[in-house]
Amino acid sequence: MLEFDLKLRRGEFELDMQAQMHQPITLILGASGSGKSTLLALLAGLLNAELLKARYGQIHLNQRVLFDHQNSINQPSHLRRIGLMWQDGQLFPHLNVQQNIEYGYRLLKPEQRKIQPKQLIELLDIGHLLQRRPRHLSGGEKQRVALCRTLLASPELLLLDEPLTALNPSLKQPILGFLKTIPTQFGIPLLYVTHQLEDCEVLAGEVWQCSAGRLVLIH
């Protein structure tokens, strides 16, 4: 379960978001510039300096305190066990696919490894890509590899920042279908940010509307 209460000012933009998210799949709908990506970056611990300046904020994940300004708790992002996938995958260009997907997996202790690479490689159908460099992958392949890499790090929460926006529908649908199965198959809840309504229909989770730095539960 994810709970947060965050306030942040960046120039003219003001973010003020509170939520308790209990569902396996949560979607945040909103236009560009509404604060969706900023929220994900805050949850992942990527904007800690700004959050510390704001002098306010709390983030809890599964009873763990990730950030609590008042009590000076601020877990660094590498210890938060939160996965984040961006639109362009952010695969490491100097590593091949196999090295990319094993990057986080190898950093886990054996007892922390919830998913076996072989199983996921088969599910995502990327076995034939393992020796390739990211520059030789198509957009859809890059996203499947990025998804595999993120899941193999066994996060407690998976954040997805418009990961499929750049893909055409034929590539997007199978990945969306797979995403939908992640909470039941691997026990990892999703927080999916998008500006496309059709994604909400496929994923069928709890839907929040993000607008001008505020969050409202709509479904």
């Binding site: 590498h78 490491f92 100097h94 790090a153």
Partner: protein, 231 residues
């Protein structure tokens, strides 16, 4: 082209000084570049200005300052002297002078490379569980390899051509501190030395060109591995 033993010595010394300059400058250059590219701190502009200062000062100024500091009576030189270490008027001083003069170019190349990197690659590594140190060694450093390479080549080339700071700090001692530029200078001072000066100049141009071409080739290979287009 035949060279006398003294000329060979000048050539060998130049290569030795330039190589040591690159090797010793590598870690400080990477550290300073990272600090300037990735960190915000009070006094950053001053650090940046100090690093770049040798580029805009007359080379004789850093040379003289080094002499004040590392000469036998200097603050650091007197201390080193107790352990029998002499830097001024010694080839190791030529390395130090070169290092001071080359560092701005070295730092700037790596810094530009770091600034061009997509910061989200480092963030992705962190979110996969890598500590900042691990991210630095497994993502940041491999991705700025081309900047390090270009910086090393520039530093090597600059060191081969270093004259003002070297002659001020370590003098022009045949067989000890007479590098190629100093040998050229000495040859020009000699009325019968024009042919020798021209030979040494040709040698300098060839070496600098070879270093630049090698650096360029290695850089293109690296860029192509990462999937970037060649410039």
């Amino acid at each position: 082209m035949t060279l006398s033993p003294d000329e060979y010595q000048a050539l060998w010394l130049s290569v030795k000084v330039a190589t040591w300059c690159v090797l010793l400058g590598l870690i400080p250059a990477i550290g300073l570049a990272w600090l300037l590219a990735r960190c915000e701190f009070w006094g950053k502009s001053l650090v940046e200005a100090l690093v770049m200062l040798p580029l805009v000062l007359p080379p004789v100024v850093p040379g003289y300052l080094l002499l004040l500091l590392f000469g036998r009576q200097g603050a650091i030189g007197a201390w080193l002297d107790q352990y029998g270490i002499q830097v001024a008027f010694h080839w190791t001083g030529a390395v130090l002078a070169s290092l001071v003069m080359c560092l701005p170019l070295f730092v700037q190349s790596i810094r530009l490379s770091l600034q061009q990197q997509d910061i989200r690659l480092e963030q992705a590594a962190q979110l996969l569980g890598a500590s900042r140190l691990r991210v630095f060694f497994t993502v940041t450093l491999p991705l700025c390899w081309s900047g390090i390479l270009v910086g090393a080549v520039l530093a090597f080339g600059r060191s081969l051509g270093e004259f003002g700071a070297t002659i001020t700090f370590v003098g022009n001692i045949n067989g000890e501190t007479r590098t190629l530029p100093l040998a050229i200078y000495s040859a020009i001072q000699n009325p019968a030395g024009e042919a020798l000066a021209l030979r040494l100049i040709a040698l300098s141009v060839l070496m600098a060109l070879a270093a630049l071409l090698l650096g360029n080739w290695l850089n293109q290979r690296h860029q192509s591995r990462l999937g970037h287009r060649h410039a």
